[in-house]
Assembly symmetry: C2
Homo-oligomer: 301 residues x 2
């Protein structure tokens, strides 16, 4: 990843260093490496794929943080907190370009197509979220949103790692499914942590999604159980802009079993993910994939 700015302007190299130094869990490359290693893919292709996926993810975060005006990410200042908006837009573009180059370097055309389709899915999802009225309580909308936002890239990574392996269509489909399921679970857990997480660890105020008019799974469960709650009723009419009411709503959601029910749903996705490993041979990578899946629901950040 670091090498991608080697021939670029020095400020761009510094920006990439800054972004990479912030770290992150690197869940996506881990997923790709484990799936590919399990299935006997060439390590070089998996490293290239992992770098492509993580760089694509980083590029989307750079533009997201600019759009949201976020000043911190992973405890470090965001690029837009230090740079002008124009420089931030172009840095994101540069990362998209280098991610696409890395994807092409896997020398696998179907992977390349999948890669660019996934980028289109992610961006279309963000635009749809932007144009959808805030405060909307809608399960179908939520499902589509978390697919575009998170599950699509997990799915693509796991599927692509299988595609560059000597694996048949059934195995590729199982791995696509594994990536999809843990991706959905990952985003649901993110959304739960927005209500129940350690604010310092998560790095955002509690209930920040609701304060931005984003109704996630815990709030959807709460709304189903408490359809007459005045704060719930206020949501589609701009009630999410009322800080005081939203703080109360967040407290109420936390006091019910809504976060627990959302967690049960995430755990269901993890079970489906584990089931798609059933036909895989016993090996260290399979064990590690099981642990990765379990980690996704157990994590605190």
């Amino acid at each position: 990843m670091r090498a991608q700015a080697d021939e670029a302007h020095s400020d761009l190299r510094a920006a990439l260093e800054h972004l990479l130094a912030a770290g992150g869990k690197r869940v996506r490359p881990t997923l790709g490496l484990l799936v590919g290693n399990m299935l006997g893919a060439p390590l070089e292709k998996l490293v290239t794929l992992g770098a492509a996926v993580e760089l694509l993810h980083t590029a989307t975060l750079v533009h997201d943080d600019l759009i949201d005006g976020a000043l911190l990410r992973r405890g470090m200042p965001t690029l837009n907190a230090r740079w002008s908006p124009p420089a931030t837009v172009l840095t994101g573009d540069f990362l998209f370009a280098r991610a696409a180059k890395l994807a092409a370097d896997t020398d696998h055309l179907p992977l390349m197509k999948l890669f660019s389709e996934t980028l289109a899915t992610i961006v279309n999802g963000e635009l749809t979220q932007m144009f959808t009225s805030r405060g909307l309580i809608n399960r179908e909308n939520y499902d589509k949103r978390i697919y575009a936002k998170t599950a699509s890239l997990f799915e693509m990574t796991s599927r692509a790692a299988a595609m560059v392996s000597p694996a048949d269509e059934t195995v590729i489909e199982s791995m696509r499914c594994f990536g999809y399921e843990i991706g959905v679970a990952f985003q649901i857990v993110d959304d739960i942590l927005d209500f129940t997480g350690d604010q310092n660890a998560v790095g955002k105020p509690l209930g920040s999604d609701l304060l931005n008019g984003l109704v996630t799974l815990p709030a959807i469960y709460y709304a189903e159980a408490n359809p007459e709650d005045p704060d719930v009723l206020s949501l589609p009419n701009g009630g999410w802009t009322n800080n005081e009411n939203m703080t109360r709503l967040v407290e109420n959601i936390r006091a019910t079993d809504a976060p627990k029910r959302a967690m049960n749903e995430a755990e269901g996705h993890i079970e489906s993910a584990l089931a798609s490993l059933d036909s895989m041979p016993s090996c260290a990578e399979r064990d590690a994939l099981e642990n990765l899946a379990k980690y996704i629901v157990d994590r605190k950040v």
Copy 2:
């Protein structure tokens, strides 16, 4: 190109329609189609390549106009004049994604790599321009800038069209060269028109480059011939921010042979381009490529 937003959010479809309705000369797809037709490439691949290149070009314009705060392009309101900056950033990203998908649809990996490298070159050039002090009078800087900004994509298009044809390495290299040379000429002519063009046709005020601190070829020739001109001397020290002085400098440049000398240089590049057609068989496409090359220096807009 239009089909690229078929499955996307309706506002995104509308944005793409708006961008495509603004037209443009479509020089890059024309170049790719002519080169590929001359060399016997499958038409389907050339259409895909042309759409990929023009969509990539469109995506960079969307982000450029946002960054520059430009309100008009090709006589139509820019996207950022009608949409929020966040929606404009994401629309550009979506177009990048779909352009990459189209490039992958040519089923030609080296083309795909070239495509993503060219995008990186273009964006790196924009960032370098952003970080380079304004008012710099430097020939090497100018050459690098116009390569990144314009010639790289012309070069890539012409080369890629040859790559998907049954053409040997020598022919591919000739076509790369043809694209490069007309691309350099195209940008030099653009820079001349900024001084001498019909303001209504060009759609920008005369001398807008200088007023933005961008020293292009006519100004470089003028500065070489008039090194003691106080307006020239003021440029590297922020003199370009003085509207009155710059208006005078633009008038002075127009009154000398500096624009003519720049045009001679552009014509030299067109001659080199025509020379790289020498070994091509006589055919309608070759004639059309010659006409395209000549049009590039003759055009008024």
